[in-house]
Amino acid sequence: MAEFLQFASGFVSAMVVLGMVRIVRGPTRADRMMAAQLLGTGGIAALLLRSDITDTPSVIDVALVLALLAAFASVAFVVKGAREASGEPEASE
């Protein structure tokens, strides 16, 4: 079983790496952001598999933190995309 999970974790990582080409290629910022998001999800999957293989439950906590904060970076991008760039004033003063 461990071998299978090891293989699955390697496979998921490889697929995510494939997706990372999008970070490099772009062309829009949204594309790059999406690829980073995929990397986050794939990383979480790899961590969960890893936690099972090595029997270290605390690795799940790392996945939990990534799940919480991966969205955070995307939001920092989106706020720019949706508000500041469209000419809306940032400040309400």
Partner: protein, 315 residues
């Protein structure tokens, strides 16, 4: 296991590839996204190095807070920043820089290959003294007890950095509210996200703090997560940043180091040494300090990321 080593090599190569790309890519926004990816990969590296506490920290800071900070900075600078690229230094300087970097990297690599064997380690000492604090997580023990002085001074460094950020405010905004006021739009999915995620995040943050006594986690990880959740609410316009002259904010900023100092002088007074915890009360004392530290880390990091005061505080 050989398959593990192959995966490690691939991961290391990937880290370096993303690192290279972050350095050479033309567009700064792309570089910032690359940095977020780099932080994610580093988190995996720390897990592979069996340093779960560090992985939690790197995951929260590298791909979370710092990543978001750099993304926002790159979009605030916008296209103007690209024009500076024209000042590309000459071939001569770049060659010298490359040479220097290769030499430094080679020296570090040599150091790695010729590290003393058997490796010097303080782990047995940490294990032998773990009973003194009543906590099972060795890293928390080092941070909060064995090297408590470092941790306390590190908090002071954060305060100095924050004072540096605040000092960039214009005179008339001194003591005012940092950052722009974001508008909230109830129909925006962002508002929904910012309403739902922070309660969950705060629970996870406190869980991190609580777990930190016996399992990977602790005040730094918990504080960082709470800071991120607060920033999310600010970005979505659900809450505003407090004026930096607010007394409660200032109190939260110094709570951690202050408690450390009080306990430290208490140890001196009780006759042992500065920061010596009385063994009978070590665990409750450490938990109280950790709680204060979580608060301080959260408020300090949050305020560091939002930047200097840019508006007048409410009357």
């Amino acid at each position: 296991m050989t398959s593990d080593i192959i995966l490690d090599c691939i991961l290391a190569a990937l880290v370096l590839a993303v690192g290279c790309w972050v350095i050479v890519v033309r567009d700064s926004f792309a570089a910032a996204v690359g940095f977020v990816a780099y932080g994610l990969l580093l988190t995996l590296v720390w897990v592979r190095l069996d340093a779960i506490d560090v992985a939690l920290m790197e995951g929260a800071i590298g791909s979370g807070l710092t990543g978001a900070l750099l993304l926002r900075a790159s979009s605030r600078l916008g296209a103007k920043e690209q024009s500076t690229a024209a000042e590309q230094p000459g071939v001569m300087l770049r060659t010298v820089a490359a040479l220097l970097s290769v030499i430094v990297a080679a020296m570090l690599a040599t150091a790695v290959l010729y590290l003393p064997d058997p490796a010097p380690t303080l782990a047995p000492e940490a294990a032998a003294n773990a009973s003194a604090t009543g906590m099972a997580n060795p890293v928390t023990n080092v941070l909060m007890a064995f090297r408590a002085m470092d941790t306390m001074l590190e908090k002071v460094v954060l305060l100095v950095a924050l004072a540096g950020v605040w000092s960039l405010a214009r005179d008339r905004y001194w003591g005012g509210r940092p950052g722009p006021r974001f508008r909230s739009d109830p129909k925006d999915p962002l508002a929904l996200l910012a309403q739902t995620l922070p309660p969950l995040g705060i629970v996870v943050g406190i869980y991190m703090l609580w777990e930190g006594a016996d399992a990977p986690g602790g005040a730094f990880q918990g504080g960082t997560i709470i800071a991120a959740m607060w920033l999310l609410a600010v970005i979505a316009g659900l809450t505003d940043t407090p004026p930096v002259s607010n007394r409660r904010v200032r109190l939260a900023l110094i709570a951690g180091p202050l408690l450390f100092l009080i306990v430290g002088f208490g140890g001196l007074w009780l006759g042992e040494a500065f920061l010596a915890y009385p063994v009978a009360y070590a665990k409750p004392l450490l938990l109280v300090i950790e709680f204060a530290m979580t608060l301080t880390v959260a408020v300090t990091l949050g305020l560091l990321i939002v930047g200097p005061p840019e508006r007048e505080g409410a009357p």
